[in-house]
């Protein structure tokens, strides 16, 4: 009860701060299982995307977030109890980078640890470390479990936050998610101006008005190739961005 109340409060605050306006383009809010995939420019992305959904949907939509960023103190309370976030491990090598004292690359939250990782593995399949591989499979299992029979997910297939000008190429994790669950609708979402509200590397938000645009679910062939799937998905988000 208190959680629902807190969830509504946070959603209202996020909408108020970012003045988010919502557009549903050839798409409607629906309870069916979906993967919402969006461009990624800010820590606020999933909070705002989640907060503009109708309250009864919010309970079923789980953002995918990075375990190391969201697993301490208040953040953890919010992530786990309010947003029901799926926390997954980042790629092994960011831990190394972090240990080496470089902070910036590990800033990206969102579970694209996994999604980023997939492509790392594919590109460097000859040198794939066994430990990384098991981490990915573990993360994919976590996502599939989180999806379950009735939930939806929010993911950011770019793998890291961009500067808001270009949408980086998608990692292939989203494709593997589809291979496992072709029954789920893949809904493209474009988030506008959130990079201006809270850009990468900033702590204090500025109340610039943002927009959340939901597009029609991807139309996919039964045997869509990986390249074609990724292309369609990327194109769908870019198209919404031009509206």
């Amino acid at each position: 009860m208190i959680r629902d109340w807190l969830a509504s409060l946070i959603a209202a605050f996020a909408r108020g701060l970012t003045g988010a306006t919502v557009q549903w383009v050839n798409c409607r809010p629906a309870v069916g299982q979906r993967i919402y995939f969006a461009n990624h420019t800010s820590h606020l992305d999933f909070v705002v995307l989640w907060s503009v959904l109708p309250p009864d949907l919010r309970r079923l939509v789980r953002p995918v977030a990075a375990k190391d960023y969201w697993s301490s103190g208040l953040r953890k309370e919010l992530a786990v109890n309010v947003f029901h976030a799926v926390l997954i491990e980042r790629r092994a090598h960011s831990a190394t980078v972090k240990a080496a004292g470089q902070h910036e690359p590990v800033q990206h939250p969102a579970g694209h640890a996994l999604l980023a990782q997939q492509s790392v593995i594919e590109r460097t399949s000859t040198e794939r470390a066994p430990v990384e591989h098991s981490l990915i499979e573990h993360a994919m299992d976590d996502l599939l479990n989180a999806l379950g029979e009735k939930n939806s997910l929010i993911i950011f297939p770019e793998g890291t936050r961009g500067n808001g000008e270009v949408i980086a190429p998608f990692k292939s994790g989203i494709y593997h998610l589809w291979r496992h669950r072709p029954d789920v609708e893949f809904v493209p979402v474009y988030l506008a101006n959130l990079n201006r509200v809270l850009p990468k590397g900033e702590f204090l938000p500025v109340p610039i008005i943002s927009r959340v645009i939901f597009g029609p679910p991807l139309q996919l062939e039964q045997h869509e190739s990986k390249e074609s799937f990724i292309h369609k998905a990327h194109q769908a988000v870019c198209t919404l961005g031009e509206l």
């Binding site: 900033e202 500025v206 610039i208 008005i209």
Partner: protein
């Protein structure tokens, strides 16, 4: 801090109520008679505007009755929302982020806090002097020189229009005019004349508008709307002299000046919108667009009205 509701205020509120009722009835009748597609769209927008006028009048009247603090709070909120629409519309750069934070969360509240404590000297100097120097100084700390002057100027211009100029409206309440101390009627006079001028320009423009007055800047503004609107609003303003410290002639002259300034404000803000290829600053107020679309005429008229009144009547 409840303002005393004298009989003059009661008359004005009653008149506004009647005006809104009549507009609503006319809007309802028109919605039954409109035939063409274009006509229907216009009437639908007209009715959305009328409903929004009910809400805006209600909020404004309520805060006026709460005394100066209510109005200061209302206009602080309006400034904040207007600034937000402005900053969203213009191009800002990544290196502007912290300066924008200062603009929204320090400078805007500070300007209205100065009104709250009636510190006139700093109120008039804060944005044009201190903030004018602060903004480039804060920006330069970021080390990004790309478009430096443009960026500093855009941010400062937004603060001048959305915060400084708008804050002059509630500043009327701290003027020390003999017989009119903390008199909400002066603020009411300003808002009525300026907004009625917009309304009359719209109505005359829709009824008779043919010759465009500034086709490249604001295609909907016509000479017929301009003349009809200015004359009607000036006449109403002159007729409201009894609620102000002005004589009949002075009220008439003030009203004419207010309507002309308001018109200039509307044109200037339109030019910014055209340059950024948008129709409105936002969609906060149904039928009207954004807050800044409704406040553009107040931005230009409030500061001059304040200073003329202060110079001649205190």
């Amino acid at each position: 801090m409840i303002a005393k509701l004298d009989h003059q205020m009661l008359w004005i509120f009653a008149a506004l109520l009647v005006l809104l009722l009549i507009s609503s009835v006319i809007g309802f009748i028109l919605s039954r008679t409109a035939r063409s597609e274009g006509g229907k769209a216009t009437i639908k927008n007209l009715n959305a505007r009328i409903i929004a006028w009910w809400k805006m009048s209600g909020i404004f009247a309520l805060t006026l009755l709460m005394g100066p603090h209510g109005s200061i709070l209302l206009f602080a909120l309006i400034s904040f929302l207007a600034l937000r629409e402005y900053m969203t519309l213009i191009r800002t750069s990544r290196a502007d982020h912290n300066t924008l934070f200062w603009s929204f969360f320090v400078i805007t509240p500070l300007q209205y806090w100065l009104l709250y404590i009636s510190w006139y000297g700093l109120f008039v100097a804060l944005v044009p002097v201190y903030v004018f120097l602060f903004i480039p100084a804060r920006l330069v700390l970021e080390g990004d020189t790309t478009g430096f002057l443009d960026r500093a100027a855009r941010i400062h211009w937004g603060l001048m229009i959305c915060v400084y100029c708008i804050s002059y409206a509630p500043a009327l309440l701290i003027l020390d005019i003999p017989g009119h101390r903390q008199d909400p009627k002066l603020l009411l006079f300003l808002v009525i004349v300026v907004q009625l001028s917009d309304v009359f320009q719209y109505v005359w423009g829709k009824l008779l508008g043919k010759r465009k007055i500034a086709p490249h800047v604001s295609p909907n503004k016509t000479w017929e709307g301009f003349v009809g609107g200015i004359l009607c609003a000036t006449a109403v303003g002159g007729g409201l002299w009894w609620m102000t410290p002005f004589s009949r002639g002075q009220a008439l002259a003030m009203s004419l000046l207010l309507t002309l300034l308001g018109f200039a404000g509307g044109l200037v803000m339109s030019a910014i919108k055209r340059d950024r290829s948008v129709k409105d600053f936002g969609n906060t107020i149904e039928g009207h667009g954004g807050i800044l679309d409704r406040m553009d005429s107040v931005c230009f008229s409030a500061p001059i009205f304040f200073h003329l009144t202060r110079y001649f009547f205190t």
